[in-house]
């Protein structure tokens, strides 16, 4: 009885392996290490892919660190890692550092991440924000000036507004300030900041006059405690969702996330196998961990790009 079940299981696995798009029988024979570091935003996707890759290539040791996009690029440009997770494109200074150490690389887009602007569920006055209003609230000169809800729109309550956001070390903060204020890393300083987005969720959920922003995944997981606010970028109000992020209508608060692969590393079969697997699975996995997948043709394009890069 048991032997039959094992046989059945084995043949099913064989079928599944044959049906896969990638050449899994090759991956199974691979050995070696794949060293990844970088953004904590991209980390959940990479971790999930690494977990899945273990099933296909059990002898390849994939390790993932969370030094942040910038910290990761430092190691990447020294040749200490094979792949860097990045929640923004590489900076000129980082690209130069790579060139200085003869590190050639390719950048592959793997998913979208949306930023949600949220308030307390008891907040019944905000219907939407325009990008200008968000700028007015968050720009450096707003400190000491925009202190009450009525300072944004006069008909809103004459109550103190309490702001929450990720701390300045995060790529999320960089992205939000760049998209809203116009300059990365510049904003008012008098807001409650934390590197732990769950702290922000708790703060906003218990504070009627709060306003904050963070990754869409944190809103999706805490929908009952928060109220998401649509953003008007001049083309009408758009509420962040998987659809509006993936069809790019939720601008400017959605962004692509990347992996950077070093050329020297990509010559190694285990790294090549892993990256190909990554591109194949990124669509379904990114949804699984709360991110938004790219349109299918972009994955096909990424795969071609990586193919020519390693040739």
């Amino acid at each position: 009885m048991e032997a039959k079940q094992i046989l059945l299981g084995a043949s099913l696995m064989l079928l599944a392996a044959c049906g896969g798009q990638t050449s899994k029988n090759n991956d199974a024979a691979l050995t070696g290490n794949v060293k990844i570091d970088g953004s904590s935003t991209v980390y959940p996707i990479t971790e999930a892919i690494a977990e899945e890759y273990r099933v296909v290539a059990p002898n390849v040791k994939v390790t993932v660190g969370v030094s942040g996009t910038g910290g990761g690029f430092k190691k990447f440009s020294r040749g200490e890692t094979d792949i860097n997770d990045a929640s923004r494109p590489i900076k000129t200074s980082e690209a130069e550092a790579c060139r200085g150490n003869n590190i050639e690389y390719v950048s592959l887009m793997i998913a979208y991440d949306g930023l949600a602007v949220v308030v307390n569920p008891q907040n019944d006055w905000v219907d939407y924000f325009t990008v200008e209003e968000l700028k007015k609230i968050w720009e450096p000169s707003a400190e000491g000036k925009i202190m009450k809800w009525s300072d944004i729109r006069p008909k809103w309550p004459n109550e103190r507004i309490n702001l929450y956001g990720p701390d300045a070390a995060s790529g999320t903060y960089d992205y939000f300030t760049e998209a809203v204020v116009g300059e990365s890393g510049k904003s008012r300083g008098d807001f409650t900041n934390s590197s732990d987005d769950n702290v922000l969720v708790q703060g906003i959920a218990t504070d009627k006059y709060s306003l904050g922003f963070f990754g869409l995944a944190y809103y999706e997981e805490n929908m009952s405690k928060l109220k998401v606010i649509g953003v008007d970028n001049g083309k009408g109000v758009v509420i962040p969702s998987f659809e509006s992020v993936s069809n790019s209508s939720y601008t400017p608060l959605s962004r692509p996330v990347f992996i950077y692969v070093s050329k020297a590393a990509a010559q190694r079969p285990e790294v090549k196998g892993f990256v190909n697997f990554y591109i194949d699975k990124a669509g379904s996995i990114s949804k699984d961990v709360g991110y938004v997948s790219l349109p299918a043709e972009l994955y096909t394009k990424a795969k071609e790009e990586f193919g020519t890069f390693t040739r």
């Binding site: 690494a50 977990e51 390790t63 969370v66 732990d196 709360g290």
Partner: protein, 306 residues
């Protein structure tokens, strides 16, 4: 007579008032005494209540999550499947390596200061700096470790680089503990040894160190239980967030329990917070057990000395 009684009478009166005054002061002092006692009790309890609240809160969140699978599984994106095997294995490796590195260095330095060092400006400077080292924030050790052990000595992001960094971090504590333990060794022991013709080294090896070993071990274990909770220096060294294997040698990459906890608490899914609570319980158990061993050793050592 009259005069005499007149002069005599006031005397007892003053004595009586004196007595009441004294009993008044005594009562006041007693009151202050009591107040201070209860303040002390309150201060003790505030610490304990906060600790108890924390432990109960964590236990409620996490105790149900701890089972054999949790201890023997690899990390996963699915919270209910995820485990802490690479994390606790990494912590155990780090603990063992740190102990092996720091114990001989710390004890040798402690012995030098107590037994050999002469009163000199140089030695005084060394002593002051070791005390200063104990106050350096741990992240600074991480930056130092990354440059010296990670890059200069070429250990990379290995367990060895992490262990050397943590060994530096706890070295001042071990040195101080060793010195205190050696100071507590009765001078009669030493004199008896010298009296029998033993050399200095023979005295240290056969008399002083065995007598001081309980104190040295206690200090070492307490400092190691601090090292096992450190995250900041290890993040700088390059401890990873996702390691799907148990390290098989000191040059392997690694993760540790605090790192895994930190990683889980920043996840959006509530189920990962439960995992973090469970991992915290495991980490607390490790520290409690280590502190327990330290207390046991201290008690045994004190009995032996008497």
């Amino acid at each position: 007579m009259n005069n005499a009684t007149d002069t005599l009478i006031p005397a007892p009166r003053t004595r009586v008032t004196d007595l009441t005054q004294r009993s008044h002061t005594a009562r006041r002092n007693h009151l202050i005494d009591q107040t201070f006692k209860y303040l002390g009790v309150a201060a003790t309890f505030i610490g304990l209540i906060v600790l108890a609240y924390f432990i109960i809160d964590i236990a409620i969140d996490g105790i149900g999550r701890i089972d054999w699978d949790f201890l023997t599984s690899l990390p996963s994106r699915k919270a209910e499947k995820a485990g802490i095997l690479p994390a606790w294995a990494g912590s155990a490796w780090i603990l063992a390596l740190t102990a092996i590195i720091s114990l001989p260095l710390g004890v040798a330095a402690g012995v030098y200061f107590e037994e050999y060092a002469k009163e000199s400006r140089m030695n005084h400077l060394l002593e002051v700096n070791i005390a200063n080292l104990a106050g350096v924030p741990s992240i600074i050790y991480g930056i130092l470790g990354l440059e010296v052990f990670g890059r200069l000595m070429g250990f990379g992001e290995s367990l060895l680089a992490g262990a050397f960094t943590l060994a530096l971090l706890i070295l001042p504590i071990i040195i101080v503990a060793t010195r205190e333990a050696i100071k507590a060794v009765p001078s009669t022991l030493r004199e008896a040894s010298y009296g029998l013709g033993a050399t200095k080294w023979q005295t240290i090896k056969w008399q002083v160190l065995p007598a001081a070993s309980g104190g040295i071990l206690t200090g070492t274990i307490l400092s190691l239980s601090r090292a096992v909770g450190e995250t900041a220096p290890l993040i700088v060294i390059g401890a990873l967030a996702y390691v799907p294997f148990v390290p098989s040698g000191p040059m392997d990459q690694f993760t540790v329990l605090p790192m895994q906890i930190f990683n889980w608490t920043s996840r959006p899914q509530a189920a990962f917070l439960t995992n973090a609570a469970a991992a915290i319980i495991v980490l607390l158990l490790i520290t409690f057990i280590m502190n327990g061993i330290a207390i046991y050793l201290r008690n045994r050592w004190q009995k032996n000395l008497k």
